[in-house]
């Protein structure tokens, strides 16, 4: 108490210093950084390694923000943000990297909280809901293995509100990311009539409305769409004048990256204009009580860098499987994983410099050990390998292909027809290569 008061006074005296409490395993370190000029993340990272005497290990750095949420520090921006928003002190949590599990991950802040609670982070004194957690903690430790949380770039956003700055306040543009998600999009649309203000007064016009949500579906879980919301646009194309079937086709055609502009039936939860001054720079506003929006704002913050990327290149990354003509035998035995080399390349996220659909062959000899892996673990191994840097989760292609790879894998198990011979040495492309 005394100390905290003291630090408070220190802060008043010297406004530039921010007290930092850093935790690595069971160890704590305390130091301070400059609030105005916190410096680069790189330097901070080195500082952390130095202070905690961590050698030869990659770590992830997270901090607790004003709401008690664990947020990552992995670049200059969020480092800056962490330092500037520290109140009164910046609490840092360090975790050793390398045991990242691709858990079913939701970008919703609510979920993060939950996962944090169950993770090894959560066992520390992180949240203000500590008491509630304490009761849980024991069974948590008993019941389930500890889930580790990966870096934000490993995560995949599920939904977001976009273009808040250019849309009227009464409208909402929602982006649903289905990539790799096993959840169905899960909503229905119907015909209806809506009232428009025209130069001739109010006029009834036909419109498209959301008619039903599938429980547990993606649309429902985002909380951003509701029954009776009027659909105005689908991926930037107005739906007025289009039939229900046309709109259905448009939505399904865009389902891998669906952006729908709706006029919510409930206009009370609209984003307040004043909060958009910072655009999508990641400022999360607490003005609205809706958890969903908060989560989205946070998602927009962390996911911002690659959202732009995806907007530019929503290339449908088609899977191409090539087989060498020199191997005439297609009748390979399904039981022998060795004899059957399967090369699948999902297309990289297609930033301009990369080819958007790639074909590849076995360039990953280093991973040849995988060939011997038992069938049951293939898909999990594959998944893990798929999220290797540098592509990681930011690749829409990967997400897209993730599901279908599953399909291929499952099909392979049952169906030897899918096996194709491996092209020998025909590798020209770079990019992610998966060898089975």
């Amino acid at each position: 108490m005394n100390r905290s008061f003291k630090s408070q006074s220190v802060r008043y005296l010297d406004c530039n210093a921010v007290e930092v409490k850093s935790k690595y395993g069971a160890e704590f370190r305390r130091f301070s950084v400059d609030r105005v000029k916190p410096g680069k993340f790189e330097e901070f990272y080195k500082l952390i390694l130095h202070i905690h005497k961590i050698a030869n290990a990659e770590v992830m750095i997270g901090y607790a923000d004003v709401h008690g949420d664990l947020l990552p520090i992995n670049n200059d921006d969020n480092f800056c943000k962490a330092v500037s928003s520290a109140h009164p002190l910046l609490r840092i949590f360090i975790q050793r990297q390398g045991t990242v599990s691709l858990s079913t991950w939701q970008k919703s802040r609510k979920r993060i909280r939950e996962e944090v609670d169950y993770s090894n982070f959560g066992t520390n004194t992180l949240t203000r809901r500590k008491k509630a957690v304490v009761t849980l903690r024991n069974d948590v430790n008993r019941k389930r293995p500890q889930i580790r949380i990966g870096m934000p770039q490993d995560f995949r956003p599920v939904s977001s509100i976009i273009d808040v700055d250019i849309l009227p306040e009464s409208h909402r543009r929602v982006r649903l990311y289905r990539h790799g998600s096993d959840k169905p999009l899960g909503f229905y649309i119907r015909d209806g009539t809506s009232v428009r203000v025209t130069p001739h007064g109010l006029e009834k016009v036909p419109g498209i409305f959301i008619s039903r949500m599938v429980p547990g579906g993606l649309a429902e879980s985002t909380g951003l769409l509701a029954v009776n919301d009027e659909v105005l646009e689908v991926n930037g194309i107005e739906v007025s004048g289009k039939t229900l079937d046309q709109v259905t086709d448009m939505m399904i055609a865009n389902s891998h990256n669906l952006i729908i502009t709706v006029k919510p039936v409930n206009q009370r939860n609209n984003i307040v204009r004043s909060s958009r001054t910072s655009g999508s720079s990641g400022q999360s506003t607490d003005s609205s009580g809706s958890v969903g929006y908060l989560g989205v704002a946070a998602a927009a913050a962390t996911a911002h860098s690659f959202i732009a990327d995806e907007l530019e290149s929503d290339e449908d990354s088609d899977i191409v499987i090539e087989s060498s003509i020199k191997r005439p035998s297609r009748r390979s035995n399904a039981s022998s994983a060795h004899s059957r080399s399967h090369t699948v390349t999902p297309v990289p996220p297609s930033p301009p410099q990369r080819p958007s659909s790639t074909v590849s062959a076995a360039s990953c000899h280093s991973q040849s050990g995988l060939n011997g892996t038992a069938h049951g673990s293939l898909s999990s191994r594959l998944q893990r390998d798929l999220c290797l840097p540098p592509h990681q989760g930011s690749s829409p292609a990967f997400r897209e292909s993730n599901g279908s790879l599953h399909k291929i894998l499952s099909a392979m198990r049952t169906d030897p027809r899918h096996s194709l011979a491996l092209p020998q040495g025909g590798v020209e492309e770079d990019g992610t290569v998966i060898t089975l």
Partner: protein, 998 residues
């Protein structure tokens, strides 16, 4: 030429594909707008001008037989035939190539069509009781059918509508009067054109005096004019009274039977009346005899007969007259037949039609058609039959148009442009042998002049039918003329009786029936139905695939051949487990040898197992390979060595629906039955509730309302690989391209499925000299899974110049440039939702065009067409012609897949129309507007096949050789009247207008 060069240059300078790429961005619109601003104006206008020279949309002509005809009219002076339909269309036909079409604004059935005698006007009566006047107006040397007036008969105020309900129309031979008999028994006289009611000339009920005093005469059934004395009109009333109406005198003739129709014989002295009891009477008109009731005759006597609805008798100079009447069959035994009886002396035939008779007329010899009857023209509901009355046995004359395309339901169609003369002639010869039972007389309707130029090339339209036939139509010009008919049924064992005893009546049968017409919609075995056709026009090889997984490869042979066809069974499942085919069984091939007449004769038969519908078919005549696909997989067959080269199962193991086969439909019937029973029970329960509880009633009503108001919902769900029928093969394509490396091109086979998968195989063909011995082999080369998983509907490889690869043998016949093998080839994949271009041999996406994501429409039909410029001979472009599920036509440029033009073409509700669409290689197309009619459309500004014809007024035609003065001097009623009218407006043009209005 200079122009072309600049255009090409400009198109190169346009923004590259990437710059304009339709990224799905919410800011798309604004970005596009900006793009436009940056573009140079010159380029755009250049391209726009070029587009105008290349593309133009026209619906040009309707082929086939009009759907649901309801009225027939004939003009002996114009030699034109008019057919009105229940949808309000009116079609005029004369000599082959002379045809006109009009459509009433009202969607009402045409009940009567009348030409005004000796004029180019015709009058239609719709079932909403309106009269419409049409004329054939000459415009720039071509006639057009135009509506020029309409008229509604107005009765006295307060009169019931029946007073003015028109039941009979007589176009008076003067051409200036129209007599309208009504349901109320009145006859109104109207002056035409102009539709002026002449009230003082009306024949009202009050004026008709009968010996027994006034009584209800009922409606006017028929009106006939005395052929010799135009001042005399015979009015037949429904109650059986006939009144001969002269200018002032009326001579009533009493009858006591129900009257159906009256006919005034050409001699002017006799009248025939037909009656509802199947009898007819012959009346003398001269003198007092008219009062005596003549003897009635019942042609099919003794037992009660059905009504004779129309009767005519025509004299011949050489022998006995022709008595022709419809109906009159013995009610009990043959009451359901549609018959027209023709009696001439001892010859008596009851022509037995397969559908309801609408109307008939007889064409006479000579210029005025007053001579011997030469042909009987019968319009029945499904076809037009013309009987040659001058040739022994009264054979049928083959119609050059109005052919019943749907004599068996059309199941698919295939168009082949530019048929080589050799094949054309051989087909014609084979076709002629099939038409020996037709009359050799020329087509008797010869009105109008066909002014359209000779078709630039020979085109064939092939239609596959439900009964296993393939019909070959000459689709080069305006008339879709039947050339040849191929029947595949003889290859298989079916219950069908092969001996076509349609024309054989039993000896001594009474009435003496004779089956006429070819409309026969009953298929003996639906498995015979043709689903896919592929014809190689250079080699004369034809591949035909059907409903039960049968694929026949046929070759054109000028000699008849007796042989048995052995089938090759191809198991498409490839040992896939858990499969149970619940659909129909495979067709059994005939074991004994069958005699195949000259024409296409089968020499290879492939039977797919399971015998599912063949969904894709292609044939490569140069490599002698045929590829086929069903919902289970695809196969490749070498038809020279007659062995299977490749079989690939495309089934998804989790696809249960495809597993079970098409009979899962049965389940849904069961389900729907169960549901409907439940509904009945529920409604009964609710009814009981209604009795007991009033409140419950209200509730129930609310629930019902809610149920009715429950909106149509659509589920938004991304496609998954588990969706049904993902394995269905939609597209097959042979190409000689760079599949494995960029230096050696190899033959390849490409297959695309409903689930967005593409399979590519390299083919190894032995050298020509050892082609018959060494096996053809296929090796899997590539598999592409489209991420959007939409069905692949088209596959195409573009050569180094961006042009599609030519057809097999096309280069060998010097009809196409050999493809550019220097530059890199590209693969164009058309899915229902997107157009994607991939590089080859390394498959990577190069460009794409999204259709569904942007417009919400899906590709239904796609084809490559050559668009020639209408301005210069030298310039032309390849384009991709696309029909969407909304019925819109798009033309996309190749190889840059950019939208060029789009036109709405088919109503989006017309699913069968959209499904039936077939494109030609020159930017035209056909689609079914009814089961029996093809609409022909043209997207090209150069190639337009449309009727161009001229019909001259009869007087004009006869006086065209310098008799103008006479025709003017003649006191020709209408012409003078019109001339006077116009003369008031413009003195100088008096003569000219007078001429025109005749």
């Amino acid at each position: 030429m200079g122009f072309v060069v600049t255009v090409a240059g400009v198109s190169v300078r346009r923004p590259p594909a990437g710059a304009e790429k339709d990224c799905i961005s919410v800011k798309q619109m604004t970005r596009r707008g900006r793009m436009k601003r940056f573009r140079r104006h010159g380029q755009e206008s250049h391209r726009d001008k070029l587009k105008q020279e290349l593309y133009q949309f026209n619906k040009t002509v309707e082929h086939g037989f009009p759907h649901q005809p309801s009225a027939l009219g004939y003009s002996p002076s114009l030699q034109l035939l008019a057919i009105g339909t229940r949808s309000g269309a009116i079609k005029l036909y004369g000599a082959p190539g002379v045809e006109f079409m009009g459509l009433h604004e009202e969607n009402a059935a045409v009940t009567r069509v009348f030409f005004l005698p000796n004029q180019v006007e015709l009058v239609t009566l719709l079932d909403d009781n309106n009269l419409h006047m049409w004329t054939l107006q000459a415009h720039q040397g071509l006639s057009e059918l135009l509506e020029i007036g309409r008229f509604t008969l107005t009765g006295p105020p307060g009169a019931p509508p029946s007073v003015t309900r028109i039941t009979a129309v007589l176009a008076h031979s003067s051409g200036e009067l129209l007599l309208l008999g009504t349901e109320g028994g009145h006859v109104f006289v109207v002056e035409v054109p102009g539709f002026r009611e002449l009230e003082d000339k009306n024949i009202s009920l009050e004026a008709v005096q009968t010996p027994e005093g006034r009584r209800n005469l009922e409606s006017v059934e028929d009106l006939q004019e005395n052929p010799l004395n135009p001042r005399q009109v015979l009015v037949g009333y429904g109650r059986g009274l006939m009144v001969l109406w002269d200018l002032d005198v009326n001579v009533p003739v009493l009858l006591l039977r129900q009257l159906e129709s009256v006919w005034w014989m050409p001699d002017g002295e006799h009248i025939l009346s037909s009656h509802s009891d199947g009898s007819y009477c012959r009346w003398m008109v001269n003198g007092e005899d008219t009062q005596n009731e003549p003897e009635k005759e019942v042609p099919y006597g003794n037992f009660p007969c059905k009504a004779i609805t129309k009767i005519i008798q025509l004299p011949t100079t050489r022998g006995p007259p022709f008595l022709i009447f419809s109906g009159g069959m013995p009610r009990a035994s043959y009451g359901d037949r549609h018959c027209i009886s023709v009696i001439s002396g001892k010859t008596h035939v009851a022509l037995d039609f397969t559908s309801r008779i609408i109307d008939f007329f007889v064409i006479g010899e000579g210029e005025r058609q007053k001579g011997n009857p030469s042909a009987l023209v019968v319009l029945v509901e499904e076809e037009l039959v013309v009987v040659d009355l001058q040739t022994e046995g009264w054979p049928i004359i083959q119609t050059p148009y109005l052919v019943p395309l749907h004599s068996s339901a059309i199941t698919c169609s295939h168009h082949v442009s530019g048929i080589p003369l050799k094949l054309w002639e051989r087909l014609q010869t084979a076709g002629k042998l099939q038409k020996t039972h037709y009359s050799s007389k020329p087509w008797p309707l010869i009105g109008g002049k066909n002014l359209s130029p000779d078709p630039p090339q020979r085109d064939l339209l092939l239609t596959g039918h439900e009964d296993g036939t393939v019909r070959f139509w000459d689709a080069s010009g305006v008339c879709l003329y039947p050339m040849y008919k191929l029947s595949t049924a003889s290859v298989f064992q079916t219950d069908a009786d092969l001996n076509d005893n349609m024309n054989q009546g039993l000896e001594g049968e009474w009435p003496p029936f004779r089956k006429v017409g070819c409309f026969d919609p009953y298929s003996d075995d639906p498995r015979l139905g043709i689903q896919k056709i592929h014809l190689c026009k250079y080699s004369g090889y034809l591949a035909v695939a059907g409903t039960a997984g049968q694929i026949l490869v046929l070759e054109l042979n000028d000699e008849s051949l007796e042989q048995s066809v052995e089938g090759t069974l191809v198991d498409l499942l490839q040992g896939q487990e858990g499969f149970r085919w619940k659909g129909h069984a495979r067709l059994e091939e005939r074991e004994e040898s069958v005699n195949f007449p000259p024409g296409f004769q089968p020499f290879a038969l492939i039977q797919c197992q399971p015998p599912a519908v063949v969904t894709a078919l292609t044939l490569h005549s140069e490599w002698k390979l045929v590829a086929f696909g069903t919902s289970h997989g695809f196969g490749l067959f070498d038809y020279q060595q007659k062995n299977t080269v490749l079989v690939r199962c495309t089934l998804n193991p989790s696809d249960q629906l495809a597993m079970e086969g098409p009979l899962s439909r049965v389940k849904s019937i069961k389900k729907s039955l169960r549901q409907s029973f439940r509904r009945i029970r529920r409604s009964r329960v609710s009814m009981r509730k209604q009795h007991t509880n009033n409140a419950a009633k209200v509730e129930g009503a609310e629930a019902l309302q809610e149920m009715e108001l429950a909106p149509v919902q659509r589920k938004i769900e991304a496609r998954s690989s588990d969706d049904s029928f993902t394995g269905l093969v939609r597209a097959l394509y042979f190409a000689d391209s760079f599949l494995s490396d960029s230096t050696h091109n190899t033959p390849s086979l490409w297959a695309g499925t409903n689930g967005g998968s593409i399979f590519a195989y390299t083919l190894r063909l032995p050298p020509t000299e050892r082609r018959a011995e060494e096996p053809v082999t296929a090796h899997p080369a590539k598999e592409i899974q489209l991420m959007h998983r939409a069905p692949v509907v088209g596959l195409l490889i573009l050569d180094g110049r961006g042009a599609p690869l030519p057809e097999p043998l096309e280069v060998a016949h010097d009809l196409a440039r050999s493809p550019d093998m220097q530059g890199s080839h590209h693969l164009l994949v058309v899915s229902e939702e997107q157009f994607k271009v991939f590089t080859l041999p390394k498959v990577s996406s190069k460009m794409k065009l999204k259709l569904t994501a942007v417009e919400g429409s899906r590709v239904r039909r796609v084809s490559v067409a050559w668009f020639a410029s209408s301005r210069t001979e030298e310039y032309g472009e390849n384009g991709l012609v696309v029909l969407t599920n909304l019925g819109d036509l798009h033309v996309l440029s190749l190889p840059h897949i950019k939208m060029q033009v789009h036109y709405p073409c088919i109503r989006r509700e017309d699913i069968s129309g959209i499904a039936s669409c077939v494109f030609t290689k020159h930017g035209q197309g056909f689609y079914l507007i009814s089961p029996s009619e093809f609409e022909r459309f043209s997207l090209s500004a150069r190639w337009v096949v449309a009727p161009k014809c001229l019909v001259e007024a009869p007087h004009q035609a006869s006086t065209s050789s310098g008799k103008h003065h006479k025709s003017r001097a003649q006191p020709d009623g209408v012409a003078v009247g019109r001339v006077m009218e116009h003369a008031l407006l413009n003195d100088e043009r008096e003569y000219f207008i007078g001429c025109l209005t005749q």
